[in-house]
């Protein structure tokens, strides 16, 4: 608790520190990053969001690193989490490679475009757009409902041609679940948009992948969550390379963040059984609203 208070105090006073003091006490920043990422890892798992969507607005808003480096770290953070989770999801059948592949292809192409756009646009504009996007994500999280097993009476022509259907075993319900998808073309268009945002802002895209797969395309919720993680591992890789090749990777920012989030996610996984998910979800929405407002105000030059 004391550590958390210390980190919050350190982070909240970041803008005042960000000058010469940051040079003298550089080592505090990786420590603070580790602590903040650890906390993000815990609440991310509990609220069912990836770390990137919290990491980018919080770190770009309250730490001294330039947004270019924070976006690259956000992508690598989301990528590491997705790469760690994807093998298990693929093995268990809770992710479908067949369903993910066309979506990941479209998303990875647009994520590259998004990353290039993000590096070409003025920082203030990207920061303000990031803030507006994060506020929109918070509203989306507040309003979006989920459907455990959406009704898809018949797949569409494109879905049938690509054979986007199958069966997975739901261990909680102890039964096999048949699935197919519809609205494949709108789904591909949505993933094009999601990829663009992921590359532009360095956000992992689980917040958008799951509703599109579940509510738009009609994939069962568990399959949507699992497949989203796999899609993310490909989409974020593509955008991450643009940042890596541009030289926008700072190991002192990336490594403690990845380690912190992954350790936090393990703790979050254990807490999942005892913590009320609804409460955590509300906390995350609150964090997104605060971080989004901060990013927007910083981008508009109102609160630097």
């Amino acid at each position: 608790m004391h550590a958390a208070t210390l980190v919050i105090a350190l982070v909240c006073s970041a803008p005042a520190w960000a000058g010469d003091a940051a040079v003298a006490s550089w080592w505090l920043w990786p420590l603070a990053l580790f602590a903040v990422s650890f906390a993000i890892g815990i609440v991310g798992v509990l609220a069912g969001v990836g770390g990137g969507v919290l990491f980018v607005p919080i770190v770009s808003g309250f730490f001294p690193f330039h947004l270019d480096f924070v976006r690259a770290a956000g992508l690598l953070l989301a990528l590491s989490g997705a790469l760690s989770a994807a093998p298990g999801l693929l093995r268990s059948g809770l992710a479908s490679m067949r369903l993910a592949m066309p979506l990941a292809l479209v998303g990875s192409i647009t994520s590259i475009a998004g990353a290039m756009l993000g590096l070409a646009l003025p920082t203030d504009l990207v920061q303000a757009a990031l803030g507006a996007t994060i506020l929109a994500i918070a509203a989306l999280m507040w309003r979006t409902k989920k459907s455990e097993h959406p009704e898809v009476p018949a797949g569409d022509a494109l879905g049938r041609a690509l054979r986007l259907q199958g069966v997975f075993h739901d261990p909680a319900a102890a039964r096999d679940v048949e699935w197919r998808v519809h609205r494949t073309l709108p789904g591909l268009a949505a993933f094009a948009g999601i990829g663009l945002l992921a590359g532009l802002f360095g956000l992992g895209a689980g917040w958008a992948n799951v509703p599109v797969l579940n509510l738009l395309m009609g994939a069962p919720l568990k399959l949507a969550v699992g497949t989203s993680g796999f899609v993310l591992s490909v989409v974020d890789t593509s955008a991450a390379w643009v940042y890596i090749n541009r030289g926008a990777v700072l190991p002192v920012l990336v490594a403690p963040s990845i380690i912190g989030v992954m350790l936090g996610a393990k703790i979050g996984g254990r807490l999942l059984r005892v913590v009320r998910a609804v409460v955590v979800r509300r906390i995350v929405i609150g964090l997104l609203l605060a971080a989004g407002a901060r990013a927007l105000l910083k981008g508009l030059g109102i609160w630097n």
């Binding site: 690598l76 059948g93 066309p102 292809l105 390379w241 090749n245 541009r246 030289g247 190991p251």
Partner: protein
């Protein structure tokens, strides 16, 4: 019930992710513990990390593209080996399952996998928007 190509992909991805993360943790430990001297000293780094990436590179003499390979002996650039491994994992896995789709006559998925390999390879090569 899980398709064999999915299990194959999972096995390769598991190894790639584990190796990349282990390498990243080990190299970061070497970096912060001073076991390998950094190319950019910490004090100089802290003075430049608030700059846009192009100005940062100019200020500290950091490379773009795959130029980090020549600096692997330095603590900071050692970390790039793990990051690159994580970045190449999906490419290697997709390349691995491509012949499986072809052998089974799944032309549409083989085409998608081939295009995905091309996109990831182009991104990794730094052809698009990379080394300025």
């Amino acid at each position: 019930m899980t398709p064999p190509e999915q299990l194959l992909y999972a096995r390769w991805l598991d190894w790639g992710a584990r190796a990349g993360l282990a390498l990243l943790v080990a190299s970061f430990a070497a970096y912060v513990l001073g076991l390998a001297a950094p190319h950019v000293p910490f004090e100089q780094l802290a003075g430049a990390w608030s700059l846009p990436v192009d100005q940062y590179r100019a200020a500290v003499g950091a490379p773009a593209g795959w130029g980090w390979l020549a600096l692997l002996r330095h603590g900071d650039y050692m970390n790039f080996a793990g990051i690159a491994l994580l970045g190449l994992a999906s490419l290697a896995c997709t390349l691995r399952v491509l012949p499986v789709f072809l052998a089974r006559g799944e032309r549409a998925l083989a085409l998608i996998a081939g295009l995905q390999v091309a996109v990831l390879a182009v991104a990794a090569a730094g052809v698009l928007g990379g080394a300025h």
